[in-house]
């Protein structure tokens, strides 16, 4: 009923125009690394000042959907995550492109993004008030538990030597600690340098480690993209769709992880890592992850888009932003004269249901827009490396600069590029470093907030069923290799049976 009313709001042709404009801008914002959804929406916010709130939120949220879609494009093509949440997409997406399967990878990424978003929208449509109450149960201890779960589901399973994983992760934590300590308000490890005040931004590190690092590697291998011979035609979309139903379990798991992380609010980036980690662990093809498995693209993309979408739920119902972009949209609500919070659904029916209806339509439009561009983007790989490489470096530099409008960040990006190259050469894994950099800060403040609450008593992590379950689950994940070994030794038969039933 309400939703029908919302679609009625969309009947205004101007709203449809805003939707297309928003999606297109969003895809561009997503493609450009550094200029994230939050920055993009913030820049365009004052433009919406004279629009009606409903049209304004439709355009801005469509920019957000576009950015969620667009982030995957450069991840797959050049190993440069356009957005933080598409870092995990590079792990398998880029190897696919190198094998000449860029079109498949992009189609898989876009389609699974759409799927994740769709699940989240359905959730918002029917369960918003119930779920909002659930989100309120999350205090610092619960947040830390979720962040721990993200770590544990990702770590402790790689083929790399544990020593190297640990080194990479510790380096990530150390870099994350630079800047202002949010709990004591003191500066840490800035060594009196004003440039280090802002710390090391995750995005800049990622642009350097992945983007520049990849270019250095390719240069060494002889100035040629491996994916150069890729055959591109429109049929690739249909061919990929035929393969996708195989990965239903991964897609469902990704959507659940994403919705959970978006609502609690953990954010799209941890969600994509967690989903990738879980898929790697529980999939039959888990051992092949990282070599160009389509499933390794489906997992993070469904989760990221589901999280990005469901992050709007706590924003609408409680006024808590579930993601940086949601925080900017929240500011927008106030500027347009609306008051986010529990009464928004009652007092501003037209606005809320118009927004929800636009989520359905906006994602369909988004999927169509990005899918039509698959052949276009995939054909970029045919351009000779000697021409495209300088362009990529410029885009990377512009991206690194836009994050904080600081020139030093470009130098930092180049240093990270060299670091990324060295890591690859010495076969140190990059993922633990990146994960520690993005989550280290958050996990540290949640942990210390929890410790302040409990006066240093660790039992706060088992103080209620919710937090206890998550922490226990996380520890089980961490020690899974040991546990599965033990199970296998003790009950060899039932162990294998369980494995079969998992399939």
């Amino acid at each position: 009923m309400n939703l029908m009313h919302g679609f009625g709001v969309l009947a205004d042709p101007m709203n449809i125009v805003y939707m297309f404009v928003g999606i297109t801008l969003g895809v561009l914002i997503g493609v450009l690394p550094g200029l994230g959804g939050a920055n993009g929406v913030a820049i365009l916010l004052p433009l919406t000042f004279s629009m009606s709130p409903t049209s304004a939120i439709i355009m801005l949220s469509c920019i957000y959907w576009g950015a969620l879609f667009g982030g995957a494009i450069t991840s797959v093509l050049f190993n440069i995550p356009g957005e933080p949440w598409s870092v995990a997409t590079t792990f398998d997406g880029h190897p696919m492109a190198q094998q000449g399967r860029a079109g498949e990878a992009l189609t898989a990424a876009f389609t699974s993004s759409f799927l994740g978003a769709f699940v989240a929208i359905v959730l918002i449509t029917f369960l918003a008030p119930v779920i909002a109450r659930f989100a309120l149960q999350f205090g610092p201890a619960e947040f830390f538990a979720v962040q721990l779960l993200t770590f544990c589901s990702f770590v402790g399973m790689g083929k790399e030597q544990p020593f190297k994983v640990l080194t990479a992760m510790m380096l990530g934590f150390a870099l994350a600690a630079v800047g202002l300590d949010s709990v004591t308000g003191q500066l840490r490890m800035t060594f009196g340098s004003m440039e280090l005040l802002r710390g090391f931004d995750f995005l800049i590190a990622v642009i350097g480690l992945f983007g520049i690092g990849e270019i250095l590697l390719t240069m060494e291998e002889g100035l040629a993209f491996k994916g150069k011979s890729a055959k591109i035609n429109a049929a690739v979309v249909l061919q990929t769709w035929k393969q996708l139903p195989k990965y239903w379990a991964t897609a469902i798991r990704g959507s659940i992880v994403g919705c959970w992380m978006g609502i609690t609010p953990g954010g799209a980036t941890p969600a994509s890592f967690m989903s990738y980690g879980l898929a790697k662990r529980f999939s039959r093809n888990g051992h092949k992850f990282g070599t160009g498995e389509m499933e390794g693209v489906v997992a993070p993309e469904t989760a990221a888009h589901a999280a990005g979408t469901s992050a709007l739920l706590p924003m609408l119902t409680l006024g808590i932003p579930g993601s940086p972009t949601a925080a900017v949209l929240l500011g927008g609500l106030l500027i347009w004269g609306l008051q986010p919070g529990p009464l928004l659904f009652i007092e501003q029916k037209e606005f809320v249901w118009g927004l929800i209806a636009s989520m359905y339509l906006g994602n369909v439009v988004g999927l169509i827009v990005v899918l039509t561009t698959v052949p276009l983007f995939a054909s970029i790989l045919r351009i000779p490396f000697s021409i495209i490489a300088p362009v990529i470096i410029v885009i990377c530099a512009v991206g690194a600069y836009t994050v904080h409008n600081a020139f030093l960040d470009i130098a930092v990006m180049l240093v990270f590029g060299v670091l990324g190259y060295i890591f690859k050469k010495l076969s140190y894994p990059l993922a633990p470093l990146v994960l520690a950099l993005v989550l280290g800060d958050m996990a540290e403040s949640s942990f210390r907030q929890a410790m302040l609450l409990s006066q240093g008593d660790l039992s706060i992590f088992w103080s209620n069923p919710l937090v206890g379950t998550i922490v226990t689950l996380a520890l089980a994940m961490l020690f899974w290799p040991v546990i599965s070994l033990a199970i296998g030794r003790l009950w060899p038969r039932s162990g294998s049976k369980a494995a079969v039933s998992l399939k």
């Binding site: 939050a38 920055n39 913030a42 820049i43 916010l45 004052p46 433009l47 000042f49 004279s50 989100a135 309120l136 149960q137 999350f138 205090g139 610092p140 800047g179 202002l180 300590d181 949010s182 709990v183 004591t184 308000g185 003191q186 500066l187 800035t190 004003m194 005040l197 802002r198 710390g199 706590p314 409680l318 006024g319 808590i320 932003p321 940086p324 925080a327 900017v328 929240l330 500011g331 106030l334 500027i335 004269g337 008051q339 986010p340 919070g341 529990p342 009464l343 928004l344 904080h404 409008n405 403040s445 907030q449 302040l452 609450l453 006066q455």
Partner: protein, 343 residues
């Protein structure tokens, strides 16, 4: 009495505005050749905080108002420089000498960041333009809790033993924690202060009963008040908020007592002011003062002020400088007593 005072102050401000406006018209009449200064390229509007916060919202609101009403020929570009609790933004402005195309909006971190982190900057390193408003702080508790007055809360904190009561706030050694310290100093009760990233998070944590109380700005918690989840105990301004429209349960902002009148002798408001680079000339300052006066007169701005229950005091020139000097001393005193100064 206090209300009367503020009204008379506003009247005085209005009178000054009229005088200055007529003075301008006279000068323009007399010397048509000497054109007033105006920006010749886009103006950078620095926000020394992240996207989505209170200062960021206000800056983007102002940017929107200027664009919509065509108040400036050149575009305004909002840039967030939040590093080191805002130090990055302030250092950017104080370091760009005689650049009139750079303005910055302040939070209390103008005073607290140099004191708490030791990063060397002060408001004196920049040119004060105008005080746009003062942001209010309100003592909030969860509506399910029995506390009806600040005294109830303080008594519970005292009788519950050390660290039994948790005060949530935004950031560390910034306005929220300073208020908490001031409450402790005034009453002798102790609170465990839990720093969060943003005001919206704090309000939600209070609704979820993870903390005992908060000192959220009105705009951060008003929605939860209206929904019956939070209860305001008192406002930390010198006078009650002058808005009589009912918000929740037939209570208006004006029905929230000041902390002082409910026996909690703590006063605090947060500056939302504008500064520009050091060394700019009087013409350039005058341009911005007039610009912000025009912004303040728009209905959009007035509506925004009412929504956020701001204290709408406006100040410029020497009056503003005197206020800044006084407030800096207050912060230093409060932070020194609480042991927040950088070593």
């Amino acid at each position: 009495m206090a209300v009367l005072e503020s009204v008379s102050r506003l009247k005085a401000a209005a009178a000054i505005t009229c005088v200055s406006l007529s003075a301008i018209s006279i000068t323009t009449l007399t010397s048509t050749q000497a054109l007033a200064w105006e920006p010749t390229k886009s103006v950078e509007f620095i926000v020394p905080a992240g996207t989505g916060g209170g200062a960021d919202q206000m800056a983007r609101m102002i940017q929107g108002i200027i664009q919509k009403n065509n108040l400036m020929k050149q575009p305004v570009v909002v840039i967030n420089k939040s590093g080191g609790a805002g130090a990055e933004g302030f250092l950017d402005v104080s370091g760009s000498n005689r650049n009139p195309h750079k303005i910055i909006i302040t939070l209390s971190n103008l005073f607290t960041t140099p004191l708490a982190t030791g990063v060397p900057f002060s408001w004196k390193d920049m040119t004060p333009v105008a005080m746009l408003a003062l942001d209010n702080f309100i003592l909030w508790v969860n509506a399910e809790q029995p506390y009806k007055t600040p005294k109830d809360l303080v008594d519970a904190a005292k009788s519950g033993g050390a660290n039994s009561s948790k005060m949530g706030g935004t950031g560390s050694k910034q306005e929220d924690q300073i208020i908490t310290a001031a409450i402790e100093q005034a009453t002798g009760a102790t609170f465990t202060y839990i720093p969060y990233k943003g005001g919206g998070d704090v309000a939600a944590q209070l609704v979820g009963n993870h903390i005992t109380a908060s000192v959220n700005n009105p705009i951060e918690a008003v929605a939860q008040w209206r929904a019956g989840a939070l209860r305001p105990l008192c406002v930390f301004d010198a006078q009650r908020i002058d808005l009589k429209e009912p918000i929740a349960n037939n209570m208006s902002w004006n029905d929230v007592p000041t902390c002082k009148e409910s026996g909690l002798d703590v006063e605090y408001t947060m500056l939302r002011g504008i500064f520009t680079s050091p060394g700019v000339n009087a013409d350039q300052i005058k341009y911005y003062v007039e610009l912000f006066q025009k912004v303040r007169e728009t209905p959009d701005w007035k509506d925004f002020m009412a929504k956020g229950a701001f204290n709408t005091t406006f100040m410029t020139g020497d009056e503003y400088k005197a206020w800044l000097a006084k407030t800096e001393t207050t912060h230093k005193g409060l932070m020194e007593k609480a042991g927040f100064l950088a070593k």
